[in-house]
Amino acid sequence: MTEMTPAMIHGLAGIAVFGIGLMGALAATDRLRRLVALKLCAVGAGFVLVAAAWRTPPAAPDPVPHALVITGIVVMISAAAVALAIIRRLHSLEAETDE
């Protein structure tokens, strides 16, 4: 039987968050909500990496996954910014054509 460790608990929570994000990404009709759902997926993936880095104290955690997650966070905000810019621009154009 695997022991209950913080890594196990939060790792499973991360997978649940990824699942929720996946659901949202598939089902959301609204552009902004779909983006938030994708961000949830990213956080879920980050959880799995951080959980992979965890070591039973007093051992220090593996720093490599931490660095990877930081990279992932920056990549995700870049993607989010692009998506938001397209959403804004589309909204302006669609508002113009409606008038």
Binding site: L22, C41, A83, I86, L90
Partner: protein, 495 residues
């Protein structure tokens, strides 16, 4: 190699990066910077090619640490062929873009961007795309590949929405979301691999025992990359995105970007316990679906660019069938057929999109039904389109023919006759949809006004024509290409 110059492997990646920066900071000089960068990058590819021809597979431990602590770059024949292809297409599309963005067109009232703006932003994005593509070819670390495909996808989204119209923006956003979901699946897969193996370099994957976590990782990465490579039924984003982008952007997207996902799958198959026979069978079935669905949709498409985009879906399916054709033998031989098809498709499709762009520019529309009513004939572009179609259909001696032949030959030898049948169906369908456009080019009887032969040839006609000639002509050079692919023996010694 001289001791003072950095290794060509890192130059191949960083040169287009410096080009991106320069073209972004100095928008007015962007075309000059872009072409100069392409020339320098090609020189680096040639230098790398010399090294690979001498030493077989070469690798470069960045920052001097080596895997698994650091990141290594690795080049062999397969990577070299893709790098050369990318440089070639980059140059052709670059010259094509000179023509496309030269005229100060007044854009339609649907929010389209002025041409000068398109030109200023095309070059940084194009060079950035090449940075990412080259990084993918040389990457040997899973997380690094994730970052690279994100570089590619942001640049690709930027190119998709370059036209600035509502349709392009909608298609771009759908593409962005699909691509992001694919990348995040890959990221989670990377997390699972780290959990199981504790390292991310390809060499480290070789010895890992298959476990549920590893299966989950490969499943996630496969689905994510299939989404990026637009494998049926995950192709939903592709037709709109590729059909609504400006011509040079479409050429890059269709010829190169979808290949990034395919290439990573190939590399994974080379490195680790992936894919199993079941997954190969699944790839074949999905590929068959893509061939049929893509073919039918291409038959129904009313616009030329949409038809070409749907044909990409079908051709991607064919490449997956090429991977699946060996059955129990895995990819030990199939990778050659798949690579040949990748090369053939890239050349022909880039030619085709550039030609389609020229046709639309000259005639003023790209509705397939009305081609035969136009009094204007963009002859050279139509000829290039036809040549590219010949290669995609797979008539000898084109490169497409060699690829398809290699596919069917291997399938027959493995006794998998059903893949031969599917390839035949694919060929018939492609004949059917391409002939819709080609007959339109050839009929003159429905034109009411006197036919104008053409409005003089432009520089922009040359790139699609050259690419189409290569798509045909390289079929004659298939033997040297296969020799290049064998450098460094990807997938081990051939059986």
């Amino acid at each position: 190699m001289s001791d003072n110059l950095p290794d060509p492997m890192i130059l191949v990646i960083l040169l287009p990066l410096f080009g991106t920066v320069a073209a972004f900071v100095l928008p007015r000089a962007a075309p000059v910077i872009g072409l100069a960068t392409l020339a320098a990058m090609t020189a680096a590819v040639v230098a790398l090619g010399r090294a690979v021809a001498q030493a077989g597979a070469v690798s470069l431990p960045l920052a001097g640490w080596g895997a698994p602590l650091g990141i290594e770059l690795r080049a062999d024949g397969l990577a070299l062929a893709m790098l050369a292809l990318t440089a070639l297409i980059g140059i052709a599309v670059g010259f094509g873009a000179l023509g496309t963005f030269a005229r100060a067109r007044t854009s339609a009232g649907d929010g389209g961007q002025p041409t000068s703006r398109q030109r200023a932003f095309f070059w940084p994005l194009c060079l950035l795309l090449l940075t990412g593509m080259n990084g993918v070819y040389l990457g040997a670390d899973l997380f690094n590949l994730y970052v690279m495909i994100e570089v590619i996808s942001l640049a690709a989204v930027g190119l998709t929405v370059l036209g600035g119209t509502v349709t392009a923006l909608r298609a771009g956003l759908a593409y962005m979301y699909a691509s992001l979901l694919g990348a995040l699946m890959m990221l989670l897969g990377v997390g699972f691999i780290y959990l199981q193996a504790g390292r991310l370099d390809f060499e480290g994957l070789a010895g890992v025992q298959p476990t549920p976590a590893l299966s989950a990782a490969f499943a996630l990465i496969f689905v994510g990359l299939a989404l990026k490579a637009a494998l049926f039924p995950l192709h939903f984003w592709l037709p709109d995105a590729h059909a609504n982008a400006t011509a040079p952007a479409s050429a890059l997207l269709s010829a190169l970007v979808v290949k990034a996902g395919l290439y990573i799958l190939l590399r994974l198959a080379e490195a680790g316990p992936f894919p199993g026979e079941t997954l190969l069978k699944l790839m074949g079935i999905l590929g068959t679906g893509a061939v049929i669905w893509g073919g039918v949709q291409a038959l129904r498409a009313d616009r030329l660019k949409l038809m070409v985009a749907w044909s990409t879906v079908a051709q991607i399916g064919l490449i997956f069938i090429a991977l699946a054709r060996g059955g129990a033998d895995g990819l030990s031989d199939s990778w050659r057929a798949a690579t040949l098809l990748i090369l053939a498709h890239a050349l022909a499709k880039a030619a085709m999109f550039l030609a389609a762009g020229r046709i639309k520019e000259v005639i003023g529309h790209d509705r397939i039904r009305e081609f035969d009513r136009s009094p204007v004939r963009p002859t050279l572009a139509q000829f290039a389109f036809a040549l590219a179609a010949v290669s995609l259909i797979g008539l000898p001696p084109s490169l497409g023919f060699i690829g398809k032949w290699s596919l069917m030959d291997g399938a027959m030898r493995a006794g998998n006759w059903h893949w031969v049948a599917v390839t035949m169906i694919a060929t018939l369908l492609s004949v059917a949809y391409f002939s819709r456009a080609l007959t339109g080019f050839l009929r003159f009887d429905r034109v009411r006004a006197p036919v104008t032969e053409h409005r003089g040839w432009a520089l922009a006609d040359a790139p699609p024509f050259m690419l189409a000639l290569l798509a045909i002509g390289l079929g004659l050079a298939a033997a040297p290409i296969l020799v290049i692919l064998e450098f460094g023996q990807p997938f081990g010694v051939s059986p």
